[in-house]
Protein backbone atom coordinates (compact mmCIF):
# COMPACT_ATOMS: atom_id res chain seq x y z
CA UNK A 1 0.00 0.00 0.00
CA UNK A 2 2.89 2.37 0.74
CA UNK A 3 4.07 2.12 -2.83
CA UNK A 4 0.59 2.61 -4.32
CA UNK A 5 0.38 5.58 -6.68
CA UNK A 6 -3.32 5.21 -7.08
CA UNK A 7 -5.89 3.09 -5.26
CA UNK A 8 -9.13 1.62 -6.55
CA UNK A 9 -11.70 0.41 -4.03
CA UNK A 10 -13.98 -1.82 -6.05
CA UNK A 11 -16.68 -3.75 -4.35
CA UNK A 12 -19.73 -5.81 -4.42
CA UNK A 13 -21.09 -7.53 -1.37
CA UNK A 14 -21.93 -6.47 2.14
CA UNK A 15 -20.73 -3.29 3.91
CA UNK A 16 -19.63 -5.22 6.98
CA UNK A 17 -17.77 -7.88 4.94
CA UNK A 18 -15.88 -5.12 3.15
CA UNK A 19 -14.76 -3.19 6.23
CA UNK A 20 -14.01 -6.43 8.10
CA UNK A 21 -11.92 -7.55 5.12
CA UNK A 22 -9.94 -4.31 5.23
CA UNK A 23 -9.46 -4.71 8.98
CA UNK A 24 -8.33 -8.34 8.80
CA UNK A 25 -5.77 -7.47 6.15
CA UNK A 26 -4.68 -4.50 8.28
CA UNK A 27 -5.49 -2.16 5.42
CA UNK A 28 -7.78 0.30 7.23
CA UNK A 29 -4.94 2.37 8.66
CA UNK A 30 -2.87 2.12 5.49
CA UNK A 31 -5.84 3.36 3.46
CA UNK A 32 -6.33 6.30 5.84
CA UNK A 33 -2.62 7.15 5.63
CA UNK A 34 -2.69 6.93 1.84
CA UNK A 35 -5.71 9.22 1.70
CA UNK A 36 -4.04 11.70 4.05
CA UNK A 37 -0.90 11.60 1.88
CA UNK A 38 -3.03 12.59 -1.10
CA UNK A 39 -2.94 9.30 -3.02
CA UNK A 40 -5.80 9.37 -5.54
CA UNK A 41 -8.50 6.88 -4.53
CA UNK A 42 -11.41 5.75 -6.69
CA UNK A 43 -14.30 4.01 -4.93
CA UNK A 44 -16.72 1.97 -7.02
CA UNK A 45 -20.21 0.94 -5.82
CA UNK A 46 -19.66 -0.49 -2.32
CA UNK A 47 -16.23 1.16 -2.55
CA UNK A 48 -18.08 4.49 -2.57
CA UNK A 49 -20.23 3.50 0.40
CA UNK A 50 -17.33 2.46 2.64
CA UNK A 51 -15.86 5.96 2.22
CA UNK A 52 -18.70 7.09 4.49
CA UNK A 53 -18.76 6.81 8.25
CA UNK A 54 -21.56 4.27 8.52
CA UNK A 55 -24.24 2.37 6.66
CA UNK A 56 -27.75 1.25 7.44
CA UNK A 57 -26.70 -2.12 5.96
CA UNK A 58 -24.40 -2.73 8.95
CA UNK A 59 -25.49 -0.53 11.86
CA UNK A 60 -22.66 -1.53 14.21
CA UNK A 61 -19.87 -1.11 11.68
CA UNK A 62 -17.65 1.88 11.02
CA UNK A 63 -16.67 2.87 7.49
CA UNK A 64 -13.57 4.79 6.43
CA UNK A 65 -15.28 8.03 7.45
CA UNK A 66 -13.89 10.19 4.65
CA UNK A 67 -17.43 11.56 4.49
CA UNK A 68 -19.59 11.90 7.58
CA UNK A 69 -23.05 11.10 6.21
CA UNK A 70 -24.83 7.77 6.61
CA UNK A 71 -25.40 5.38 3.73
CA UNK A 72 -29.10 4.46 3.67
CA UNK A 73 -31.28 1.74 2.16
CA UNK A 74 -33.20 2.71 -0.96
CA UNK A 75 -36.88 3.41 -0.19
CA UNK A 76 -39.41 0.59 -0.34
CA UNK A 77 -41.70 2.28 -2.88
CA UNK A 78 -39.31 1.46 -5.75
CA UNK A 79 -37.75 -1.74 -7.02
CA UNK A 80 -34.71 -2.66 -4.99
CA UNK A 81 -31.94 -3.56 -5.76
CA UNK A 82 -31.67 -0.64 -8.18
CA UNK A 83 -30.37 -2.76 -11.04
CA UNK A 84 -29.87 -1.50 -14.55
CA UNK A 85 -28.89 1.49 -16.62
CA UNK A 86 -29.73 4.95 -15.35
CA UNK A 87 -28.78 8.55 -16.09
CA UNK A 88 -27.20 11.05 -13.71
CA UNK A 89 -27.88 14.71 -13.00
CA UNK A 90 -24.78 16.89 -12.69
CA UNK A 91 -24.80 19.28 -9.77
CA UNK A 92 -21.27 20.59 -10.16
CA UNK A 93 -18.43 20.46 -12.66
CA UNK A 94 -17.10 16.91 -12.70
CA UNK A 95 -13.68 15.70 -13.72
CA UNK A 96 -14.76 12.07 -13.95
CA UNK A 97 -17.65 12.94 -16.28
CA UNK A 98 -15.57 15.17 -18.58
CA UNK A 99 -16.60 14.50 -22.19
CA UNK A 100 -19.42 12.16 -21.13
CA UNK A 101 -22.73 13.10 -22.81
CA UNK A 102 -25.35 14.55 -20.45
CA UNK A 103 -27.83 11.81 -21.36
CA UNK A 104 -25.39 8.90 -20.98
CA UNK A 105 -26.49 5.80 -19.11
CA UNK A 106 -24.46 4.01 -16.41
CA UNK A 107 -24.93 0.53 -14.98
CA UNK A 108 -26.06 0.47 -11.34
CA UNK A 109 -26.53 -2.56 -9.05
CA UNK A 110 -27.12 -1.64 -5.41
CA UNK A 111 -29.65 -1.55 -2.57
CA UNK A 112 -28.00 1.16 -0.44
CA UNK A 113 -26.89 4.66 -1.37
CA UNK A 114 -25.21 7.78 -0.02
CA UNK A 115 -27.30 10.97 0.28
CA UNK A 116 -27.21 13.34 -2.68
CA UNK A 117 -26.71 16.26 -0.27
CA UNK A 118 -23.19 15.06 0.51
CA UNK A 119 -20.98 18.09 -0.03
CA UNK A 120 -18.65 16.23 -2.39
CA UNK A 121 -21.48 15.11 -4.71
CA UNK A 122 -20.93 16.25 -8.28
CA UNK A 123 -23.70 14.15 -9.86
CA UNK A 124 -26.85 12.62 -8.42
CA UNK A 125 -29.20 9.90 -9.55
CA UNK A 126 -32.87 9.36 -8.65
CA UNK A 127 -34.37 6.04 -7.64
CA UNK A 128 -37.09 6.61 -5.09
CA UNK A 129 -34.86 9.31 -3.68
CA UNK A 130 -31.93 11.40 -4.86
CA UNK A 131 -28.59 9.79 -4.09
CA UNK A 132 -24.92 10.49 -4.77
CA UNK A 133 -23.87 8.96 -8.10
CA UNK A 134 -20.47 10.66 -8.45
CA UNK A 135 -18.34 12.09 -5.67
CA UNK A 136 -15.20 14.17 -6.03
CA UNK A 137 -13.29 15.79 -3.17
CA UNK A 138 -9.57 16.44 -3.29
CA UNK A 139 -7.86 13.14 -3.97
CA UNK A 140 -11.06 11.18 -3.35
CA UNK A 141 -13.34 10.11 -6.20
CA UNK A 142 -16.19 7.65 -6.13
CA UNK A 143 -19.01 6.40 -8.32
CA UNK A 144 -22.09 4.44 -7.25
CA UNK A 145 -22.39 2.88 -10.73
CA UNK A 146 -20.00 0.34 -12.24
CA UNK A 147 -17.81 2.11 -14.83
CA UNK A 148 -16.22 -1.24 -15.72
CA UNK A 149 -19.68 -2.49 -16.74
CA UNK A 150 -20.93 0.72 -18.33
CA UNK A 151 -19.71 0.27 -21.89
CA UNK A 152 -17.80 3.06 -23.62
CA UNK A 153 -18.98 5.82 -21.24
CA UNK A 154 -17.72 3.76 -18.30
CA UNK A 155 -14.35 3.33 -19.97
CA UNK A 156 -14.23 7.11 -20.43
CA UNK A 157 -14.90 7.66 -16.71
CA UNK A 158 -11.98 5.36 -15.84
CA UNK A 159 -9.79 7.13 -18.41
CA UNK A 160 -10.77 10.48 -16.86
CA UNK A 161 -9.80 9.18 -13.43
CA UNK A 162 -6.34 8.21 -14.66
CA UNK A 163 -5.97 11.48 -16.58
CA UNK A 164 -7.00 13.54 -13.56
CA UNK A 165 -4.31 12.11 -11.34
CA UNK A 166 -0.71 12.93 -11.79
CA UNK A 167 1.80 10.39 -10.85
CA UNK A 168 4.99 9.03 -12.40
CA UNK A 169 4.98 5.74 -14.21
CA UNK A 170 1.50 5.89 -15.68
CA UNK A 171 1.58 4.37 -19.16
CA UNK A 172 0.17 6.97 -21.55
Amino acid sequence: MDAARVIVLPGVGHFSAFVAGLRERKLTGALRDASRAGVPILGICLGLQVMFSRSEEAPGETGMGFFTEEVRALPTNVKSPHIGWNQVRRTRESRLLRGVPEDAYFYFAHSFAAPAETQATVAACDHGLAFAAVIEAGNLRAVQFHPEKSGDVGALVLRNFLNSVEFPGLPQ
Binding site: G13, S80, W85, N86, V88, D103
Partner: protein, 261 residues
Amino acid sequence: MTLARRIIPCLDVDAGRVVKGIEFEGLRDMGDPAELAARYNREGADELVMLDISASHQGRSTFLDTIRRVAEQLNLPLTAGGGIRTMEEGRAVLRAGADKVTVNTAAVERPELISELAQQFGSQAVVLSVDVKRKGNSWEPYVRGGREATGMDAAAWVTEAVQRGAGEILLTSIDRDGTCSGFDCELTARIAATVSVPVIASGGANGFQDFLEVFTRGCADAALAASIFHNATHSIPDLKQFLAEGGVPVRRPMSSSKGTP
Protein backbone atom coordinates in the same frame (compact mmCIF):
# COMPACT_ATOMS: atom_id res chain seq x y z
CA MET B 1 -33.73 10.57 -15.68
CA THR B 2 -35.19 7.10 -16.01
CA LEU B 3 -34.08 3.56 -15.47
CA ALA B 4 -33.74 2.13 -18.97
CA ARG B 5 -35.55 -1.08 -19.92
CA ARG B 6 -32.89 -3.66 -20.67
CA ILE B 7 -32.42 -5.81 -23.76
CA ILE B 8 -30.59 -9.02 -22.89
CA PRO B 9 -29.37 -11.55 -25.46
CA CYS B 10 -29.09 -15.04 -24.03
CA LEU B 11 -26.38 -17.53 -24.92
CA ASP B 12 -27.41 -21.14 -24.32
CA VAL B 13 -24.08 -22.91 -24.19
CA ASP B 14 -23.27 -26.57 -24.68
CA ALA B 15 -19.68 -27.85 -24.94
CA GLY B 16 -18.33 -24.37 -25.60
CA ARG B 17 -20.77 -23.54 -28.41
CA VAL B 18 -23.94 -21.47 -28.49
CA VAL B 19 -26.88 -23.69 -29.33
CA LYS B 20 -30.55 -23.17 -29.95
CA GLY B 21 -33.14 -25.28 -28.18
CA ILE B 22 -36.75 -25.66 -29.26
CA GLU B 23 -39.27 -26.23 -26.49
CA PHE B 24 -36.34 -27.43 -24.37
CA GLU B 25 -35.66 -30.21 -26.89
CA GLY B 26 -33.40 -30.46 -29.93
CA LEU B 27 -30.23 -28.41 -30.44
CA ARG B 28 -28.75 -26.45 -33.31
CA ASP B 29 -25.28 -24.80 -33.40
CA MET B 30 -25.56 -20.99 -33.39
CA GLY B 31 -21.91 -19.99 -33.19
CA ASP B 32 -18.99 -19.12 -30.94
CA PRO B 33 -19.96 -17.55 -27.58
CA ALA B 34 -17.08 -15.06 -27.50
CA GLU B 35 -17.77 -13.88 -31.05
CA LEU B 36 -21.47 -13.41 -30.34
CA ALA B 37 -20.66 -11.65 -27.06
CA ALA B 38 -18.32 -9.23 -28.82
CA ARG B 39 -21.03 -8.49 -31.38
CA TYR B 40 -23.68 -7.82 -28.71
CA ASN B 41 -21.27 -5.67 -26.71
CA ARG B 42 -20.69 -3.56 -29.84
CA GLU B 43 -24.36 -3.39 -30.81
CA GLY B 44 -25.56 -1.96 -27.51
CA ALA B 45 -26.96 -4.93 -25.62
CA ASP B 46 -27.50 -3.95 -21.99
CA GLU B 47 -26.38 -7.21 -20.46
CA LEU B 48 -25.69 -10.82 -21.39
CA VAL B 49 -27.04 -14.02 -19.91
CA MET B 50 -25.17 -17.28 -20.43
CA LEU B 51 -26.74 -20.61 -19.51
CA ASP B 52 -24.97 -23.95 -19.32
CA ILE B 53 -27.44 -26.36 -20.82
CA SER B 54 -25.06 -29.33 -20.81
CA ALA B 55 -25.60 -29.72 -17.06
CA SER B 56 -23.02 -32.50 -16.92
CA HIS B 57 -20.17 -32.69 -14.47
CA GLN B 58 -17.62 -32.75 -17.25
CA GLY B 59 -19.30 -29.82 -18.97
CA ARG B 60 -18.78 -27.56 -15.95
CA SER B 61 -15.09 -26.79 -16.47
CA THR B 62 -15.72 -26.13 -20.16
CA PHE B 63 -18.50 -23.74 -19.12
CA LEU B 64 -16.22 -21.85 -16.73
CA ASP B 65 -13.72 -21.52 -19.58
CA THR B 66 -16.46 -20.17 -21.81
CA ILE B 67 -17.43 -17.61 -19.14
CA ARG B 68 -13.82 -16.41 -19.10
CA ARG B 69 -13.74 -16.11 -22.88
CA VAL B 70 -17.06 -14.26 -22.97
CA ALA B 71 -16.25 -11.93 -20.04
CA GLU B 72 -13.07 -10.83 -21.84
CA GLN B 73 -15.21 -9.48 -24.66
CA LEU B 74 -17.58 -7.49 -22.46
CA ASN B 75 -17.77 -4.19 -20.70
CA LEU B 76 -21.34 -5.02 -19.78
CA PRO B 77 -22.81 -7.07 -16.93
CA LEU B 78 -22.78 -10.83 -17.41
CA THR B 79 -25.13 -13.30 -15.73
CA ALA B 80 -24.23 -16.99 -15.85
CA GLY B 81 -25.66 -20.21 -14.51
CA GLY B 82 -27.31 -23.49 -15.32
CA GLY B 83 -27.00 -26.44 -12.97
CA ILE B 84 -25.54 -24.40 -10.08
CA ARG B 85 -26.07 -26.49 -6.93
CA THR B 86 -23.80 -25.01 -4.26
CA MET B 87 -22.35 -21.75 -3.09
CA GLU B 88 -18.91 -22.92 -4.22
CA GLU B 89 -20.20 -23.52 -7.74
CA GLY B 90 -21.70 -20.04 -7.65
CA ARG B 91 -18.40 -18.62 -6.51
CA ALA B 92 -16.59 -20.37 -9.39
CA VAL B 93 -18.98 -18.77 -11.88
CA LEU B 94 -18.43 -15.30 -10.39
CA ARG B 95 -14.66 -15.83 -10.19
CA ALA B 96 -14.64 -16.79 -13.86
CA GLY B 97 -15.95 -13.32 -14.68
CA ALA B 98 -19.74 -13.33 -14.28
CA ASP B 99 -21.31 -10.51 -12.25
CA LYS B 100 -24.41 -12.47 -11.30
CA VAL B 101 -25.19 -16.12 -10.88
CA THR B 102 -28.53 -17.66 -11.74
CA VAL B 103 -30.04 -20.60 -9.87
CA ASN B 104 -33.09 -22.66 -10.66
CA THR B 105 -33.57 -26.38 -9.87
CA ALA B 106 -31.21 -26.51 -6.88
CA ALA B 107 -32.96 -23.49 -5.34
CA VAL B 108 -36.31 -25.27 -5.57
CA GLU B 109 -34.85 -28.34 -3.90
CA ARG B 110 -32.98 -26.35 -1.26
CA PRO B 111 -34.17 -22.71 -1.00
CA GLU B 112 -31.39 -21.96 1.54
CA LEU B 113 -29.05 -21.85 -1.46
CA ILE B 114 -30.54 -18.45 -2.36
CA SER B 115 -29.94 -17.10 1.17
CA GLU B 116 -26.38 -18.42 1.20
CA LEU B 117 -25.51 -16.87 -2.16
CA ALA B 118 -27.13 -13.55 -1.22
CA GLN B 119 -25.31 -13.36 2.10
CA GLN B 120 -22.00 -14.16 0.49
CA PHE B 121 -22.20 -12.14 -2.73
CA GLY B 122 -25.07 -9.69 -2.20
CA SER B 123 -28.61 -9.79 -3.62
CA GLN B 124 -27.54 -7.92 -6.75
CA ALA B 125 -25.49 -10.98 -7.71
CA VAL B 126 -28.28 -13.54 -7.30
CA VAL B 127 -30.80 -14.12 -10.07
CA LEU B 128 -33.58 -16.64 -9.53
CA SER B 129 -34.46 -18.34 -12.78
CA VAL B 130 -37.99 -19.73 -12.95
CA ASP B 131 -39.39 -21.76 -15.85
CA VAL B 132 -43.18 -21.85 -15.70
CA LYS B 133 -46.17 -23.38 -17.46
CA ARG B 134 -49.63 -21.94 -17.30
CA LYS B 135 -52.04 -23.92 -15.19
CA GLY B 136 -55.53 -22.44 -15.27
CA ASN B 137 -55.29 -18.97 -13.79
CA SER B 138 -51.81 -19.40 -12.34
CA TRP B 139 -48.38 -20.63 -13.33
CA GLU B 140 -46.43 -23.65 -12.12
CA PRO B 141 -42.61 -23.71 -11.91
CA TYR B 142 -40.88 -26.59 -13.68
CA VAL B 143 -37.34 -27.75 -12.98
CA ARG B 144 -34.63 -29.79 -14.77
CA GLY B 145 -34.76 -27.80 -17.95
CA GLY B 146 -38.53 -27.56 -17.91
CA ARG B 147 -39.07 -31.31 -17.75
CA GLU B 148 -40.28 -31.80 -14.19
CA ALA B 149 -43.32 -30.22 -12.54
CA THR B 150 -42.87 -28.93 -8.98
CA GLY B 151 -46.48 -28.63 -7.87
CA MET B 152 -45.61 -25.14 -6.63
CA ASP B 153 -47.16 -21.79 -7.49
CA ALA B 154 -44.89 -19.35 -9.36
CA ALA B 155 -46.06 -16.24 -7.46
CA ALA B 156 -45.55 -17.92 -4.08
CA TRP B 157 -42.13 -19.25 -5.10
CA VAL B 158 -40.74 -15.92 -6.32
CA THR B 159 -42.06 -14.23 -3.17
CA GLU B 160 -40.11 -16.66 -1.01
CA ALA B 161 -37.03 -16.36 -3.20
CA VAL B 162 -37.01 -12.57 -2.91
CA GLN B 163 -37.43 -12.81 0.87
CA ARG B 164 -34.39 -15.07 0.84
CA GLY B 165 -32.36 -12.50 -1.07
CA ALA B 166 -32.84 -13.07 -4.80
CA GLY B 167 -32.13 -9.72 -6.46
CA GLU B 168 -33.77 -10.39 -9.83
CA ILE B 169 -36.20 -12.85 -11.37
CA LEU B 170 -35.50 -14.38 -14.77
CA LEU B 171 -38.96 -15.54 -15.75
CA THR B 172 -39.33 -17.97 -18.66
CA SER B 173 -42.64 -19.06 -20.10
CA ILE B 174 -42.13 -22.64 -21.26
CA ASP B 175 -45.39 -22.38 -23.22
CA ARG B 176 -44.01 -19.49 -25.26
CA ASP B 177 -40.32 -20.47 -25.35
CA GLY B 178 -39.21 -21.46 -28.80
CA THR B 179 -42.73 -21.20 -30.19
CA CYS B 180 -42.20 -17.57 -31.18
CA SER B 181 -45.68 -16.47 -30.15
CA GLY B 182 -44.62 -13.42 -28.12
CA PHE B 183 -43.83 -12.95 -24.43
CA ASP B 184 -46.50 -13.98 -21.92
CA CYS B 185 -47.35 -10.44 -20.82
CA GLU B 186 -50.01 -11.56 -18.38
CA LEU B 187 -47.48 -13.77 -16.59
CA THR B 188 -44.81 -11.06 -16.52
CA ALA B 189 -47.22 -8.42 -15.22
CA ARG B 190 -48.44 -10.78 -12.51
CA ILE B 191 -44.94 -11.58 -11.25
CA ALA B 192 -43.75 -7.95 -11.57
CA ALA B 193 -46.67 -6.89 -9.36
CA THR B 194 -45.85 -9.65 -6.87
CA VAL B 195 -42.18 -8.92 -6.14
CA SER B 196 -40.18 -5.77 -5.45
CA VAL B 197 -37.15 -6.79 -7.53
CA PRO B 198 -36.62 -6.44 -11.30
CA VAL B 199 -38.25 -9.04 -13.55
CA ILE B 200 -36.60 -10.23 -16.77
CA ALA B 201 -39.16 -11.59 -19.24
CA SER B 202 -38.10 -14.55 -21.34
CA GLY B 203 -39.63 -16.94 -23.83
CA GLY B 204 -41.44 -16.30 -27.08
CA ALA B 205 -39.79 -13.16 -28.50
CA ASN B 206 -40.50 -13.05 -32.21
CA GLY B 207 -40.59 -9.41 -33.24
CA PHE B 208 -40.11 -5.81 -32.08
CA GLN B 209 -43.78 -5.50 -31.16
CA ASP B 210 -43.41 -8.34 -28.62
CA PHE B 211 -40.75 -6.34 -26.77
CA LEU B 212 -42.85 -3.18 -26.77
CA GLU B 213 -45.76 -5.13 -25.31
CA VAL B 214 -43.76 -6.85 -22.58
CA PHE B 215 -42.34 -3.49 -21.45
CA THR B 216 -45.73 -1.79 -21.45
CA ARG B 217 -48.52 -4.31 -20.84
CA GLY B 218 -46.14 -6.84 -19.25
CA CYS B 219 -44.43 -4.31 -16.90
CA ALA B 220 -41.08 -6.08 -17.45
CA ASP B 221 -37.84 -4.42 -16.40
CA ALA B 222 -35.83 -6.35 -18.96
CA ALA B 223 -36.49 -8.70 -21.84
CA LEU B 224 -34.38 -11.64 -22.88
CA ALA B 225 -34.18 -13.41 -26.22
CA ALA B 226 -31.79 -15.70 -28.02
CA SER B 227 -32.39 -16.89 -31.54
CA ILE B 228 -33.88 -13.75 -33.05
CA PHE B 229 -30.67 -11.93 -32.08
CA HIS B 230 -28.29 -14.77 -33.01
CA ASN B 231 -29.89 -15.10 -36.43
CA ALA B 232 -29.36 -11.38 -36.95
CA THR B 233 -32.90 -11.17 -38.24
CA HIS B 234 -33.47 -8.51 -35.58
CA SER B 235 -30.70 -6.07 -34.67
CA ILE B 236 -30.46 -4.54 -31.21
CA PRO B 237 -29.98 -0.94 -32.47
CA ASP B 238 -33.13 -1.27 -34.60
CA LEU B 239 -35.06 -2.77 -31.69
CA LYS B 240 -34.01 0.08 -29.39
CA GLN B 241 -34.96 2.64 -32.02
CA PHE B 242 -38.40 1.00 -32.25
CA LEU B 243 -38.83 0.96 -28.47
CA ALA B 244 -37.71 4.59 -28.09
CA GLU B 245 -40.30 5.64 -30.68
CA GLY B 246 -42.87 3.68 -28.67
CA GLY B 247 -41.99 5.69 -25.54
CA VAL B 248 -39.93 3.02 -23.77
CA PRO B 249 -36.76 4.40 -22.16
CA VAL B 250 -33.75 2.58 -23.58
CA ARG B 251 -30.01 3.12 -23.44
CA ARG B 252 -28.22 4.06 -26.64
CA PRO B 253 -24.49 3.50 -26.94
CA MET B 254 -22.44 6.68 -26.62
CA SER B 255 -21.64 7.00 -30.33
CA SER B 256 -25.29 7.47 -31.26
CA SER B 257 -25.97 9.88 -28.42
CA LYS B 258 -26.27 13.62 -28.73
CA GLY B 259 -23.30 15.74 -27.66
CA THR B 260 -20.66 13.10 -28.25
CA PRO B 261 -17.25 14.43 -27.24
